[in-house]
Structure formats: C-alpha cells, structure tokens
Subunit: 365 residues, 2 copies
C-alpha cells in the first residue's frame, strides 16, 4: 500500500483497493494503523473532486516530511532543479542559466550551488529533511555519454550524500507527463520530444522502457525513406531529418519558431503545409510503434509543442487511420503540459518509482 | 534458484550464479541440499559441451518427474500437442489433422483425445504425473476471439483438471524460439510469423510483451505507404499487403511456395526481385521497432522461412543499415528453427515462465 502511494501519489481508499489487490477491509485497517503511526496522512478534501453527489472521497498520501527527493535536469544552457516530497508535491524549484558551451564540471558546480540553496530554504520553511535520493536528467543518448554520467553522478552523490539515479532527459520528461502532466495516470504512453533533434520515451506499465542497450525511445532515427534527406546520424530519411526544428524553419522560409507559429496561426499556406507534413510523418512513426508495443496514448513535447493543434491534429489523424480496433477507440494525442520542468520532475518520478539498486531508499511495508 | 531452472531450463552452477545473483558458495550449498532432497538432478555430462580443455561443467535441472506441462497449439487444419517436463525436456508429442473448416468444439474434442493418449503413454513409460498446467495457442488476434478462448479454456481445464493459459500462437512461437530455437537464451527478440498473414511477437526481458489491449506484436499491420495496396484489414499499405504469401506468389507469377523457392534457388530474376523487395520491407518494419524498443535480435518464422537466406539477407542488410551503435554490433537475424512444433512448445514455455494467476503451479524456494 505504501508502495502504491509512493509510485503513484495520493489515492483514495477505493483506488488503493484497485492498486494493491487487497480487500477493502484490509485497506481500511491498514490505513487506520498507518494514520495512527504517522506514516500516511489524509489530505484536505477539495470540493468538486468526488464523483456523483456524495461528499468527495478522502485522499491518502505518504506523510510528506518522511522523504524528500531532488530532481536535477541539465540542459545545454540551463539546469532545472525541483524538490518534491513523498506525497508527490513539489515543495520548491530553481532554474539557473549558463552559456553554451559550459563544461560539465562547471554545470555540476552551478547545480550544487542551487541545490544547497533550495534544500536549505525548504528545511527552514517546512522542516523537511535533506533529500534521501537524487534523480538526474542528462541530454543525449546515455550509452554514448558514460563519462559525463560518471562525472555528474559521482559529484552529486558525494556532495549531497545520497544515491543518484540518472537517465536521458527526454525519457524523464515522458515519465513526468504520465505522473503530473498531459498523460497523468496513464501506464502505457509514447512521448516525443520535438526540438532541434527528436528524442522520446516509451513508458510501459508505468515505467520507462530502457531496453538492454539503454537506447529505447529513439523515435527520431526511425527511417521513413532510404532515399530521404541526410540525417546528422549519417543515414538518410530519419524522422529527425524531416521534422527537426532547423529543417522545418528552412522548409517554411522563416527564421524562428515564433515566426513559424505566427505563420501557421495566420494560415500562411507554405507554413501550414510544412507543419501538416511534419505531423503526418510523426504520426506514421508513432503508428508503427503503436502496433508493435500496443500503445494508444501519445504526448508531443519539446519546443515544437508550441505549434499546438496545428501539429497535433495531423498526428492524430494519421494515428486514427492506422490504429486497430480497441487501440483506435482508446487513442489520445496530447500536447505536453509540463514545459521546462518536465525533465526535473521526471528525475523525481524515476527515483520514486524505482528505488536505486543499492536499496538505500525506504521501501514499502 | 529453482525459479531460474524453471524459467530457463538446465544450467551449470556458474550460470546459476549469474542468473540468481547469489554467491558461488550459496549456490554450491543450495545445490547440495536440493540434490539430497531430490528437487534437482545432475544431468549426464555430454562431451564437447564444455569450454576449453577442462571437463565439461555439469548441468543441473529440476527433478524431471516433479512437474509435467502440456502445450496445445490449434491451427486451422491441425492441432499439435507436446508434453514437457520441468527440466524443459520434451517427453512426447502428437499431431492430429482435420479439414478446414472444423468447429471449435470438434477441434477441442480431437485435441482432448490426443492429449489423453499422450498423457497415458507418458505415464506408462516414464511414470510421470498428469500435467499440472496446460498452455494453449490459438490463431488470430485474441481480443477478437474471446468466445473461442473461453470455449477452449473451459473445456480443456475441466477435462484435464489443470489451469489453462492461452495466447496467440504467433506470440507463443516467438517465445519458443527464445527457449529452444533460433534465439535460444536471448531475452529481447522480435519474431515474425510470415505466412498468408503476418503475425509476430515481441519478447522483452524473456517474456511475451502483450500490451494493455493484448495486441502487441502486430507487425503485419504497420503501414509502409498510405497509398499502397489494400490490406484485408481494409487499410492501405500494411506490411501484410506487400509480403503475405498470396501476394508474393502472384507478384512472382508462380502458384506455390515450393515453386517460388525453386525459382529463387534457380536465380529467376522476377522471383528473386520479389523476395528481395519483401525482405527489404520486412527489414524496414523491424528497424522501426528496433529503434523504439531496443531489440537487435530477430527471428523469421512461418511458412516463408522456407525461402531461407534469399529472404533473410535483404532483411539483415536493411537492419544493419538502420540500427544504431551497439544494436548494430549486436544484430542477429535468424531463420526460425522449430517449425510446426513452435506454437505448442511456446505454450509450454509460457506456462513455465509465468505461473497462472491462480498460483496453482509450484513456485520457487
């Protein structure tokens, strides 16, 4: 029961019955016991959250001060930090910007400075303990960045005296969308991070699917046409070579994403055609994955999510046409909701969902 | 330790150390204990199975007579049954043919008759017990065949007094190839069943990936071209519409698979072109899945596997060109090895790997 609350955040008694497979009577007596021992708390009822006409059902959460987790997301020009408690409530955040290029040791020093400030102010205000674990997001394909991962993990772990878990930040952003964002509560989701490059995440059964080589979620290098445009990976016709930000701007004849958005909002045909074609290609790649892994929920994130329904509609139309049976009925294509905080939130979520191998995190009763 | 032997079959002490994470000393003392109690046995050493110049290392297996599992694979024109013991040794099999169409209640009666014969003769010869569980393979997409699944499961379960677990037989065939066949011992494998239609299986971490709607592994309906040929699923450009058996025969201008094989063996240009183009399309669909779920091991099964390297080579060439980094180095494309028995063997494997929800199967220490 504590494990369900830890993984998914606050839940009603009925949701705990579903989530644990325990009987209503067992959940009830466990709850009474855990409330008395201070391990869980009852959250204030919020009007309008119940179903029907009865009073809303109370939500139970882990005692918030029992555990605090730090999420750190390194980008090329900024680091984002969030501190969240065991009830999945964000208790504080920081964003620090730096110029490109900044060395990794410098980025870590900036992050540590912000982390100490964030932790100290949270202790002063809420009396929370120091973080029991740290999640870290790093850009790029991690199997190719082993030295960066080692540098960052070692430095943060020793400075903060806590276990550190790292992953690709596109994957973490996808996980975060399933916990707090556009796909909240969904267990099987494909997430695309659409920006200069195209990354992604596959969340299966509520966990990031990593794969044996750690390269799962590479939607950007699925091939659409062996005679297509050259990709920076040196092959031809990858999705990224068609829908990367620079390529879209060049095809649409504009200089910035804001200009592209203005052009599609104004209905300029060239810009509209470019964005629609991009959406169709994205839809085709997602449809191939959908049939093979059986996902019907999709989230479009990254900077291109600013194009909104201009991009999401052609993606949805292709998927609706390609999915089979029940998957077609279940189809949802959403724009990402968490913006710049997605990666750091995902770093928190991955720690809460999957305790480190060292077993240093508190585990369930 | 018993669980590892149950899931993967016979293993050396060193393999058990790897598979369980236990120390060499613990495995050694557990082994001594379990051998004394008759729960495991040491298999006869086979010359040539060891590495280097030392004597081959002894393999341990579950005491074979402790458990027997029945696998039943229903096709449109025959039912295949295999009986296997807890050491993953096949102790007997039966094939019974029937005409198309044969009702499901008639197919079940034929299967039960063969099962009783197989079980009785195995009891007489080996003194084995009745099957403790039954796995069943059924053709087609199971979410669309709920009544067939219910009919078959209920009848077999009540007649054989054992829990029954069912799955699509293409998926089971894929799992079997990872236990006994072309991908033996591999944990992450994409399997294609290429015949009149195209089915498949995705084995992730040694288990069939089913997906929330039970439709994972549908490689046949991945779309290659929205303006392509009409598929029997009513959409255009699915892989199956290009590489289904009838389409290949028609494109190659021959009447039978044997004639197509003769033509490609003889180097007839039209036939060779058709098979090469089919292999390239299959490779493109597998490559899309490979990048998203991170698989690098592929098995080509079904009737078209008879085309051998004429088909496998273009598949492998496309994959080698599309996979990234380590996945490219790890790439293996194999022809299925288990033929007509694959589905029934997979039905045994799924029962051994995933005990039924009812928990009626013996579980590990």
């Amino acid at each position: 029961m504590l494990d369900v609350l830890r993984r998914n955040g606050p839940a009603s008694r009925a949701q705990l019955v579903d989530g644990t497979g325990l009987s209503r009577a067992t959940i009830s007596s466990l709850t009474t016991d855990l409330l008395r021992r201070g391990r869980v708390v009852e959250l204030p009822r919020r009007p309008g959250t119940g179903t029907g006409t009865g009073r809303p059902s109370a939500l139970l959460a882990l005692e918030p001060t029992s555990e605090v987790v730090l999420g750190v997301d390194f980008g090329h020009t900024r680091v984002v930090l969030v501190l969240a408690d065991a009830a999945h409530e964000v208790v504080g955040s920081r964003v620090r910007r730096y110029r490109r290029p900044t060395t990794w040791s410098r980025r870590v020093a900036i992050a540590l400075d912000a982390a100490r400030d964030l932790i100290a102010s949270n202790m002063a205000v809420n009396g929370s303990p120091a973080p029991t674990a740290v999640g870290v997001g790093i850009p790029g394909s991690l199997p190719h960045r082993e030295d960066v991962v080692a540098t960052v993990t070692t430095a943060l772990s020793s400075a903060l005296a806590a276990p550190v878990r790292s992953d690709n930040n596109a994957r973490l952003a996808g996980l975060a969308e399933t916990v707090w964002g556009a796909a909240k509560g969904l267990q099987n989701v494909a997430y695309l991070k659409l920006s200069h490059g195209v990354g992604g995440a596959l969340v299966l059964d509520g966990r990031i699917h990593t794969g044996p080589r750690g390269t799962a979620g590479e939607f950007g290098h699925v091939g659409l046409d062996p005679t297509g445009p050259l990709c920076r990976c040196s092959r031809q016709g990858c999705l990224e070579a068609y829908v990367g930000l620079e390529r879209l701007l060049s095809d649409a004849g504009v200089d910035t994403l804001a200009a592209l958005k203005d052009a599609v909002d104004a209905g300029v045909p060239q810009a509209t055609d470019v964005v629609t074609a991009a959406g169709r290609r994205i839809g085709a790649v997602l449809a191939a994955a959908a049939g093979v892994v059986d996902v019907a929920h999709f989230v479009l994130g990254g900077e291109l999510a600013a194009l909104g329904e201009h991009l999401a509609t052609p993606v949805r139309n292709v998927l609706r046409n390609r999915l089979l049976g029940q998957a077609q009925a279940d189809l949802r294509v959403e724009l990402a909701a968490l913006g710049e905080y997605a990666g750091a939130l995902g770093a928190v979520a991955t720690v809460l969902r999957e305790p480190t191998a060292a077993g240093e995190l508190p585990t369930a009763v």
